[in-house]
Symmetry: D2
Subunit: 339 residues, 4 copies
């Protein structure tokens, strides 16, 4: 079978406007187990949107953007549901930016022979395929953007802002990307481990070819900037897809403010969707109750949903979309702090 | 806090007719990970319903009936989607029969102090509560039914049939129970470990008080009867909620037919929804591909969905309800074999 | 590749006497996460063995007997650590009896093509293989034993006792089987879903060929007998491998005694090793704290260990073997109740 | 209860020299399921140590250092088993450095009331406690180290090297820390998301108080340096505890070398211990076979072990310690590249 046959069926991203999840969520609220947890997560997210004083932060880890949820996050930002994003580099660069410049993810199979895929330069994410050659082109664009910028330290937020600007300057092949809408709506995106992504390849190449004078990504500054946002925001709510660095990073801003002598509120609302298993003591799986012992998250409005995100996030987001609390919500435009 | 406050909020069972899951399932089919698996499970189930030669068998393990899916299974039987059921005793007696005689499940919390619950005679299933006193009344009804029957060996199917007859004889407090609709529509229900349930208490009491002459539950006969159905059915499709004994039992009928010298078809269609973890080699988590090595299940139309059932089963069942293939499907009425 | 190459490497069962796990367990007791849970489980099991008033019940679900732990359970019984067993039919018939009559399990791979295995009549349990032809011979022996017995209702315990007697009558190819040692030491084995195993095939064949007069397996009697043991035992401790029917069944004996008007002690000690995921509300994964809300298990000495059993059970059992509390422990010989 | 009572029982780290795991591992090799996987992981790790051309890289994610494995990693480095480390910031700063400066982790309980813990300034990691006041002192030391250094961009490796130097300069309260032994043996440690840890607080404070002139952590340089090591190393083997950024980062060096025009070998050996669930498409859970489709890892010698690391890592490491292949292994001293 030739390569094109493996890459025949594109992943199409679910459109939360195309169906109304409210009746399902309403029913789930009256059930038990993970369905009730899902409904409660939706309820807490709606509460965040209704609370005028609350700033919302979306965190992304894992591959849900590749797996069909990319448009979900776009719609959430577009419709004023999200004020800041903390993500893995992969979610932002390898997935969102990758599609913004015209490439695609494909429906594959977890049972395929990886040796065969390797020969064809097809990368596999569980049951999803990527054309490795496309990914290399994507790396190269990062490299060119890096070359075009002033040689100085950047936060990841700043660099991603430049990626957004680049897309908005008629370079985007697909208009509806998370990076571009965030650029346009002043929603800052942070990748605390930015180099741990396709961006890393282009940036390393940039430094190697410019050994004396090159840009750097200052990860301390990322933390400073996100803490500034936390301090400015006051009341905050977290909507977390997966765990990992984004989850820990955003929670730590409360403590960081404290270290700077500022008494910041714990995150008032928090929702996490994950399949991570609590018993290994890792951050990804640590409960929000546990986070409260650290003084990071309050426990009145928190909900862990132990589910693979692609099955429940579309329901929660569609529910929020159709309840419509975002309609009267004012964008916080935290990106303007840094302009 | 007094007991009644703990038992204030009833679990209400989701109604698959009240929302149309087709657009969500259609979108999920174009995504990846568990959402695509969910959509594929729905597609396979619809295929079973469209295949006139196919008899469908529902298996139930776990507590989804207590957790808000009880009405899902009722509607599936009522609307000719299911021809036979294999279940744990708990699903049938402690949950379905329990509600049929007028009792309820309640929304509780997995974080409650179990010692306190014990003192109040409240039984906990994860985040769901049961009034232990109600459960004892339920045991007692089983005891009385057992006393009223002829003293001889019964299959669990036969005894459950008698429970259905008893409900239908103006004893049901809630009309829409799985046991009663199965009785009325000649859909046999098997509980291969029937005594391992609330029924066990009533039946043991019956035997203890009638040491010389009493009814018995012959589990060999269960297997014979279910194998007879498999042989008669020809083409079969499995819709499995959880794993456990019901999953193994129904799969083994193919082998059992073989042992009797009859060349039965492998199960042609198979879907399982579970959170069980494949790496322990147990039956509950064993994949359907593994079952194919045993000659039990074909692999063309099989799908494991690793998800907590209350989150995805309502979507799959609602999709099937609204696609409507059941409308032209003829009931198999396997119960008539045994009349 | 021919069949014999697939079946080239036998599973060899770990010998808990061949290494001393005490120093590892002692170290684990000072750590955290699942290692500490493992050490605590070992400590509770040792406590059961030291408590002269305590009767111990082993429950087996899953395929650990096939996966290399078969000798562990044999040694536990041989060395007076266990007074009764409740198991799935597969553990007792398809695995233990199967090897007792001379057959073997083989090291395989979970990545093998199941279609190819099917063609060769090789059955797969995750990464372990069985020769289907051997399994059919095993079914046939059950059939012959059934034919040789008096035609009346049996409990599974009674039938398994007959299997032990058959093995002990010079029929065993491998002397050290669980069934035979239990027969010899009067340790009763219960399989509440006995027919849901390889035994089922032989028993169904027996009934089909003897339609008028045949033996039956009365599952009510199983429950009565196990409850009798619970009542007689007084203080009890559970050592549970996996969950499923055996876990529920043994826990329910406390309630069953109550229904019979006898105030039985809750199980005083309880340990469960499982990978089951608590969030689905099923019995296999339900915590022992949850069981205490039902009045089944006390919570002072209980420990869930979330681990794949083959990795930790050998450590716990070797620790108990080398601590040696079994040396002064008196066998309860509950089997004698029924002689 | 007062705070000191909650912090009464220290976590003591397991000593892989104090017991010989070889007989257990040898037995596990003949079993099935996760025990065989554990044995195979041990075998692959021993193979790495025997292969003179192979450089070994340890990755750490999760909290196993807090949970009792801290000394395991120390011994592995001390005994020439490891040539480079990639870790989460927490493993290195919050756990290893934290104990090096004299603080402790404590055995706690996952069932404790987090509100109560919060009031006492006790942070919880699943069943393990930390004194928040100690952690703040640890942050402050980082702040002081940062203030003492030249104001310029650092890689995390470079900063951690300075931490090692500081400890070695008579500042360590506990001599046997991973940071110090790595400093002394020229084993570089990378934290690609260094700021996402207790270090972040001190570093942000440093920048805020030195707004004009301050040090930065350049995450691009981390990637460059690790890629340099990969290129220099040639043959490599990965020993991965958990997944997350460290896993992805080290695997990506192969691709990064390629982007720089250098044809680097895929990682030849790879072992990962994790409880992460493969079905969510995230990096932490992605199999090593999947990584091979990306051209990162070869598939001849790879093993995923799905287990909570504290239960199996001590066995694997003790086995390697006692087999003794490290005795004739030459340290690679990659740290010298950067001196």
């Amino acid at each position: 079978m030739e390569k094109s046959k493996y890459l025949a069926k594109q992943v199409e991203h679910i459109d939360i406007k195309s169906f109304d999840a409210r009746p399902v969520i309403d029913s789930m609220a009256k059930m038990s187990f993970s369905s009730r947890d899902t409904a409660n997560a939706a309820s807490i997210f709606n509460r965040m949107l209704q609370d005028n004083s609350c700033s919302t932060i979306l965190t992304l880890a894992g591959s849900t953007s590749a797996g069909g949820c990319m448009q979900v996050y776009y719609e959430m930002v577009k419709n004023n549901m999200i004020d800041a994003i903390v993500a893995t580099g992969a979610s932002i660069v390898d997935m969102d930016f990758f599609e913004a410049v015209g490439f695609k993810h494909y429906q594959g199979s977890q049972f395929e022979d990886d040796g065969k895929l390797r020969e064809m330069y097809i990368d596999r994410i569980y049951d999803t395929y990527i054309d490795e050659e496309d990914l290399q082109k994507c790396d190269h664009i990062i490299y060119k953007i890096a070359n075009s910028l002033e040689k100085r330290p950047y936060s990841s937020r700043e660099f991603i802002y430049e990626m957004g600007k680049w897309l908005a300057s008629s370079n985007a092949k697909k208009k509806e990307s998370l990076i571009q809408i965030c650029y346009e709506k002043n929603v800052p995106i942070f990748c605390p481990a930015f180099t741990d992504s396709s961006a890393g390849f282009g940036l390393v190449k940039h430094q190697v070819e410019n050994p004396k004078q090159h840009l750097t990504i200052d990860s301390i500054r990322d933390f400073r900037e996100l803490t500034d946002i936390k301090i400015k925001a006051g009341t905050t709510g977290l909507f977390m897809i997966g765990g990992g660095v984004p989850k820990n990073f955003v929670q730590d801003t409360v403590v960081c403010a404290e270290v700077l002598g500022i008494d910041a509120e714990m995150h008032k609302y928090a929702v996490q969707i994950t399949v991570a298993d609590v018993r290994d003591g890792a951050c990804s799986s640590s409960t929000l109750k546990e986070a409260s012992s650290w003084g990071k998250v309050q426990t009145v409005f928190e909900q862990m949903v132990f589910a693979e995100a692609t099955t429940v996030v579309p329901l929660i987001a569609s529910d929020a979309y159709h309840r419509g609390y975002w309609k009267t919500r004012k964008p916080k435009e935290f990106g303007k702090i840094f302009l």
